[in-house]
Amino acid sequence: MHPILADLRHLLRYVAAWLLIGVALAWGLWQGGLAAPIPALVFALPLCGVFGFVALSSYYLCRSMPIARRTGMLSLTVFGGATLAVALGWLGLGVAWNGAGYALGRGAGLAAMTQPAWVAFFAAGIGLYVVSILGHDVLLAFDSVREAAAREAQARGLARESELQLLRTQIHPHFLFNSLNSISALTSIDPAGAREMTIALAQFFRQTLALADRDRITLGEELALCEHYLAIEKRRLGARLTTDLRIDAATLAALIPPLTLQPLIENAIKHGIHQLDEPGEVRLDALARDAWLHLRLVNPLPARACMEPGQAGLGVGLKNIRERLEALYGERMRFTWQRGETHFEVEITLPLERETDR
């Protein structure tokens, strides 16, 4: 439904505007010496009232042809044709209504229309319809801007929400309590190591809290967080965990949403290394190619049947990250994961943005 017809207040205002145009037209006829004030009003007001409703049709015309998709010839044909048709209708209606004056017993109709007067009348019809088209275009443009703003706000809300959710799951009780147990064991055999591990644990939680508040951080900052995390896990797992981080120096300044990599590394250790008997390597590649940042994380997996129970939820964390990236980048990102027989692999591609670009 047309937004003006859908709201009574808008409709009243709209009709009033057209009646004013009618008054202006009548004033023109009177000033031009074509009619006395009363017949001029009788002639102009109903015509303008009817035209006002016909002009609303341009809303559907404008909506069916969004500005972005208009091409020269086609839009000229469609809008020009519609304008011409409406103006001709307006002229016909004017002639017929004026003729009603004869029926009322007036010799020259309601107004003594001359040929130039009819030409002006026709031109006024064209002008009014063109104004209506332009007015509706502006209305639609406002609408789409409002819609886009609402969509963006929703995406932002979604992103923030999943970020918070991520933060909450971030502080994994299992990780925390096991780390504290390791520290407890270290206090007697390696007090300096216990202190180091306490500090790494504190740094990790502090940075998690600080980074989660920001929209974007550099890959370097995210990696610093991962380093603290890995330091703790290496202390717990000893020789069972090795890492191979191949970070292209050009990527360190690249901007990414906070806590994109760390949860993936955590997954790799929890579902990969922890379930393995033999030592395993977590490998991270970060590359900048053209306008894209590529991240790839690979970890070994235990044989399928040896998975610990409760692994069915494996995909949840990954889906959360994908949703978050989708909300932030839309089509301009790729996030895929692949489970092989012996390895698990996650790949992320994001637009390459740097601090200075912003």
Partner: protein
């Protein structure tokens, strides 16, 4: 003088094992006879070493602590340790089983040890309940075949058949025999995926190809390996409800 108590420590983290070793250092009458770094090792060590006490971590690679007990049949002298596991903790509390929450103090450790000592050699029936009725549906089934252990993911099972005093698990063209009651296994499997279609049969819905008429008013399930599984009247109702 009585013989010292023999203890096994099962935990995949070196530092966690170290802590137990250190706490046991104060007890001169306890000998540490072995340490296991994964569930499979622990199950083996329990059989071979027959320790009086075992400190058993719940989360370990290969087999969980509870699976270790299921496989080894061990029911006494178990002291559970865990850092955090909502499900296991709930189950322990439900069955009033003592467990050590990491990180634990020396005092708390000595307390658990004293309790275990007092019950030395007495099987804990609560462990049977813990294993038979896990707090979540099982995702794999363990089968002991002499020296070998088979771990079968439940989604690879086609159907299960009860025979005289054991069950046969049909999976990917092989049969595995296990001494267990079919009703006990049924209670551990997610009823959304597994249906008891007959007194002696449980089928995996994913391996069901079709239902055929059998006899005058009976039915049979055609499985993906081509075998036919009889469906009883009440089994047919359960199957319809599950599908």
């Amino acid at each position: 003088m009585t013989a010292p108590l023999r203890a096994l420590i099962a935990d995949d983290e070196e530092l966690a094992r170290h802590l137990v070793r250190e706490y046991l250092g104060g007890h001169a009458d306890i000998d540490i006879v072995g340490e296991s770094v994964n569930g499979l090792d622990a199950a083996k060590a329990l059989g071979e070493l027959q320790p009086d006490l075992v400190f058993l971590d719940i989360h370990m690679p290969k087999l969980s602590g509870l699976e270790v007990l299921e496989l080894s049949g061990r029911r006494d002298g178990v002291i559970f340790t865990t850092a955090y596991d909502q499900y296991a903790q709930k189950a322990f509390d439900l069955h009033a089983i003592d467990y050590l929450l990491k990180p634990f103090s020396k005092t708390r450790f000595d307390e658990a040890l004293a309790r275990a000592r007092a019950r030395l050699g007495q099987a804990l029936p609560a462990i049977d309940k813990l294993i038979a009725h896990p707090s979540a549906w099982v995702e794999r089934v363990l089968i002991r075949d002499r020296e070998q252990v088979h771990v079968i993911a439940v989604d690879k099972i086609d159907y299960i058949e009860a025979q005289s005093d054991y069950i046969a698990i049909h999976s990917q063209g092989r049969d595995y025999l296990k001494t267990q009651r079919i009703s006990d296994l049924e209670a551990q499997l997610d009823p959304k995926n597994f249906v008891r279609v007959h007194r002696s049969f449980i089928i995996h819905l994913a391996a069901l190809q079709g239902i055929e008429r059998f006899g005058s008013d009976g039915h049979a399930a055609r499985m993906s390996d081509g075998k036919r599984v009889p469906i009883s009247r009440s089994g047919y109702d359960r199957l319809r409800a599950a599908m």
